[in-house]
Amino acid sequence: MKTIKLYQIAHARSGDKGSNSNAGVVFYTRAGYDLGCELLTPERVKTHLQSIVKGEVTRYELPNLRALNFILGDSLGGGGSESLQNDAQGKTHGQAMLLMTLDVPDDFPADDVGI
């Protein structure tokens, strides 16, 4: 096994949904998507983002886009104009997702992108 960062096999975008944020993670390859479905469980994502996400994590699958959509519950300090957070709209939560560390087989192709 080797250790990689999620950004080596996927890209992401995030935004706000009321007092939650959402982070869409798109995998570069089908193999990456299949691995992501296995490794990026809601529990795992919640653990990775525990200092951001106060509520539940919900996951939706979009195989047509090789993508997973995560709803990050109660992650905006109230959201919108109520929030005292610097990132009140979760604009940066996609980048936070990409910092996740994954254990993958040694021969798993992982693009060494320069993020």
């Binding site: 950004y7 890209h11 992401a12 975008r13 995030s14 935004g15 706000d16 949904k17 009321g18 007092s19 959402n22 869409g24 798109v26 990775h48 983002l49 525990q50 200092s51 951001i52 939706y60 699958e61 979009l62 195989p63 047509n64 886009l65 090789r66 993508a67 959509n69 709803i71 300090g77 109230g78 959201g79 919108g80 104009s81 109520e82 005292l84 957070q85 610097n86 990132d87 604009k91 940066t92 996609g94 980048q95 936070a96 990409l98 910092l99 992108v113 320069g114 993020i115």
Partner: protein
Amino acid sequence: MKQLVRIGNGQGFWGDSIDAPVRLVEDGPLDYLTLDYLAEVTMSIMQRQKEKNPQAGYARDFVELIDRILPTLMKKNIKVIANAGGVNAPAAAEALQAVARKHGVNDLKIGIVEGDDILSRIDELVDQGATFENMDTGAPFSEIRDRVKSANVYIGAFPLAEALSRGAQIVLAGRVTDPALALGPMIHEFGWQPDDVDKLALGTLAGHITECGAQCTGGNYSRWWEVPDYAGIGYPIIEIQPDGEFVITKHEGTGGVVNLMGVSEQILYEMGDPKNYISPDVVVDFTTFNLKDEGNDRVRIDTVKGGPATPFYKVSMSYFAGYKASGQLTISGPRAYEKAQKVAEIVWERLKRTGYTFQDTRTEYLGISSCHGDINPVPKQINEVVLRLSVRDEDKNTVNRFGKEIAPVITNGPPGITGFAGGRPKAQEIIAYWPALIPKELIQTRVTVV
């Protein structure tokens, strides 16, 4: 019937590039220009402006834009659909007519779509059975009813299409869904009906992709280092056919990029359950299409599955929820992070000793952990850090007292602190958001053409 219609979006939110719509109408072929001017809090600001002045309450930026582009719009016969009417579309139309006369255009037809603003009808609608409970939390409307500042229904694309069918060159709406701004012209051009759910789904998907302007042409794009000419980024254009098949593209020669990566990212933007993307016109299943990259900044989608619209409109209310303020200080030099932590401790302790308490406070270290918490460890060597302190409270004076406690620590605390500009942080009103549903039969939209 036209076999190809080009719809460009030149404004993704209130405050977006003022030149993007000019470039869209001037730099290539275009049939329709859509523009979004309304953020969640905008409506309450506009209601207040209208209370003070019955001729205000709409997006003045839009009138300034039309002053810049009207000759091109007339020459190229480009039609404009915007939610710039805010809470006073008739006043916006009057201002536009004055601009048109200035340009020697005396026959400008403006469509006005109303019926979304229900602020003055709340009691009546409650009597008719609307409950307005919070659709996210289930909380009862009574919690906020006496503090409501604005209340608007998100209406759909059909009234916009009607205004176009009645000859409007510019359509002014208040609160409509963002994708509807693009779907309206498609319904008008191709005669789509409410039960053409797959076509409406395609049009809604296209409008969803372009609604945030350049976010589908290279903006907010993960591989940012690969994007050519960010400075000249092109805003998106939908090229759509009568059967709903469409291409997302941008004008030739503009900067940015349209490809599978950026379009995929934008499809997921602000997405909930992808199988149930609910608009007033249709329910779209976002798991039922494929993207095709045709090269040359063109991404095509040919089919998507739609379902019948729900019997509800979404309501967006805003209400007064107290005050907040934030203050920032830049802390530099040896042990910068430790000093910043000390400064925060000093400020909060001083406020505590004055006897003031707050409903909520927040301490953030910009440059270290404000966005991502403790995902990454704190670097060993930090040159400088910005300390951001914030409070929230029902009482305005309490929040303003906090604002007076930021600057003093520059001279009576640790060394190397700067970056305090713009005066004391002042209490800002918090205008909070309350989403609800309302049965469609309680809402009547009105279209007039003047």
